[in-house]
Amino acid sequence: MEVCILGVSHQTAPIEIREKIAFSKIQLPDALKGIHSLPDVKECLIISTCNRTEVVAVVKKGGRGIEEIKAFILKFHNLDEGALYQSFYVYSSETAVSHIFRVASSLESMMIGEPQILGQIKEAFQCAHDACTTGPFLNNLLNQAIRVAKKIRTDTGIARNAVSISFAAVELARKIFGDISGKAVLLIGAGEMSELAARHLISNGVKRIIVANRTWQRAQDLAEIFGGEPVPFEQIHDLLDQVDIIITSTGAPHLILHKSDISSAMHKRKNRPMFLIDIAVPRDIDPEANKCDNVYLYDIDDLQIVVEANLKERQKEAKKAAEIIDQELARFIKGCALMEVMPTIAQLGIFMEEIRKKEVERAISLLPSIENGQRQVLEAMTEAIIKKIIHRPISRLKDADDPEALKELVNATKKLFDLKD
């Protein structure tokens, strides 16, 4: 019995191959049952997302489980071996466990720290569980993987900082204002990114949203979508002192807001801080405006720099996550070893108990006048002897760190006491 993983991912195969190997939700139960019925496969589950398709299986050690699964996948999707073989990777035993921990913790994802993968793993587990293709080993492994992933999300910062432009803008707003729920936003112009940023700000609870656009109809439409108020484009200068965050993304070839506009607005709003996000190219706001006190002007490149810094920060955190995975892997292996040793320990106990019972019966048959109290003393004494004799061997078995040494000990115990499997 050995756990192994066979799969393709964004790291080994382009989308043209991944899409051929992926299993749709409808196909999954059949595929699971098919793999489960292979002669050398004991347990299996399939993780299939747009970035990876992996079969996690418990196979017979030294058997042909991997080849069987590979052949099954190719047959299932009607594919030729040739070109695809290069794309597959195989992990077994420890590296397989470590890999599944890494995948669940999103360390193997295209974007480190992305939140979807854990949900996808849970779904895959549920699906395999419903199809009855998982057993004690995979159930334990997946529960551990989910626990480790959660631990990593809370104990490290791999998911902490925004890695998209629009989220980075919201985070910057939080670094400036702390709580943005009472703030007012002015959206000038329209565009995918600015609308996304506005949406994030709204979901973070900004109080007021004002929409200005060259076309009045467009301003009205956007205002309706965001639950804001439309204003004519000509009036934006009168509003500057009332808003805390401005997002601009017009197609204008020239500046829309000059430094003097901003500084006079700052004067009117008594220097309460202002956050200006200029997503337009060419830019809408004079870059000099950043020199005004308490004004923070970010253009698209600035936001990109923040995103890159955030990514680096996540990569640093990924190292911490890798350390946690190493610890958890060691714990998992230890747990598995204990599971292997438990039956032997139980057998040893039963073996001793049988001898004790037999001998006690014999002794009692030789002592016809024995009283109940004396009988209890005899039982207690023999029990104590047994306990003391097997205490040390059992602790040696439980404490063995090295799996090889443990195996030797288990075998020796079985041989010495002539225990059967």
Binding site: G157, R174, I176, F177, G178, H267, N271, V306
Partner: protein, 271 residues
């Protein structure tokens, strides 16, 4: 007894300093919680130290430099704990605790015996004067730390290249709001200290105001903070400018508190 309590308090503050600094580097919330726990423990021990010393001396023990620095640290920690409870900015602890710990380590080199109080100075005004002056100083010290954090974070945001501090420090408005609140508490304290001080002077020396260096410098300090509050309300000097003023104001406080006593001779001992 009071010295032992004091040393234990200092040990707790040092532990809190270590935890708060680890928090700043690692950003682990557990570290900040440990820092907070040790700060509270230190504060309780410190309070016990001051109370037992009070009992032994028979008067509020703020006469020697040793006692004054200790009382200053106590007031700073008190203001910090209130801020921490109200607005929870653990990274403030990473600045306040080292500052207090260093000033307390310095006291270890000072003579710590109890000095008798000049009977002429025995007055009901003394308690109010001393306590309000030191609460004001404590508030100014916390505002000073908040101002430094503000300037660090402001620089990160203006430069648009987020460094290690960007991720670790709180938001600008939180800091600005905090230092404004703290100053709004510290300024009346300083005002009360000056008024009760002149009452006390009149009962002890027979004159309300005698242009003693301490009196002069505390008046200057009072004007600095008055100017800060005025410019904020009237001209909207907030953020960066207000932070610079908070730092300058604290330098005046330190000069009034220590510089005057050490460099210029006057009627005050310390404090």
């Amino acid at each position: 007894m009071n010295i032992l309590c004091f040393k234990l308090a200092l040990a707790a503050y040092l532990a809190a300093t270590v935890f708060y600094l680890i928090f700043l580097v690692s950003m682990k919330k557990g570290m900040a919680r440990m820092g907070q726990a040790f700060t509270i423990a230190g504060f309780v021990l410190h309070t016990a130290a001051i109370l037992t010393r009070y009992a032994e001396a028979g008067h509020l023990p703020v006469i020697s430099l040793y006692e004054s620095l200790s009382f200053f640290a106590w007031a700073t920690i008190l203001v910090f704990l209130i801020c921490d409870y109200r607005s929870h900015i653990p990274s403030l602890g990473s600045f306040v605790l080292p500052l207090t710990s260093i000033s307390l380590i310095y006291t270890l080199a000072l003579p710590s015996h109890i000095e008798p109080l000049n009977p002429a100075l025995q007055s009901a005004w003394r308690g109010i004067h001393t306590i309000s002056a030191f609460l004001g100083y404590g508030a100014f010290a916390v505002a000073f730390c908040a101002a430094i954090i503000y300037l660090l974070q402001e620089r990160q945001l203006k430069r648009k290249k987020p460094g290690a501090l960007y991720y670790r420090l709180p938001s600008l408005e939180t800091l600005d709001f905090l230092s404004h609140k703290v100053l709004a508490f510290g300024f009346p304290c300083l005002t009360i200290a000056i008024i009760t001080g002149s009452m006390w002077a009149s009962s002890a020396w027979g004159s309300y105001w005698s242009w003693d260096p301490k009196e002069t410098w505390s008046l200057i300090t009072w004007f600095v903070y008055a100017a800060m509050i005025h410019t904020r309300v009237a001209a909207g000097w907030r953020g960066k400018k207000a932070s610079y003023l908070a730092i300058i104001g604290f330098l005046f406080v330190m000069f009034t508190f220590l510089g005057v006593s050490l460099l210029l001779k006057g009627l005050h001992t310390y404090g």
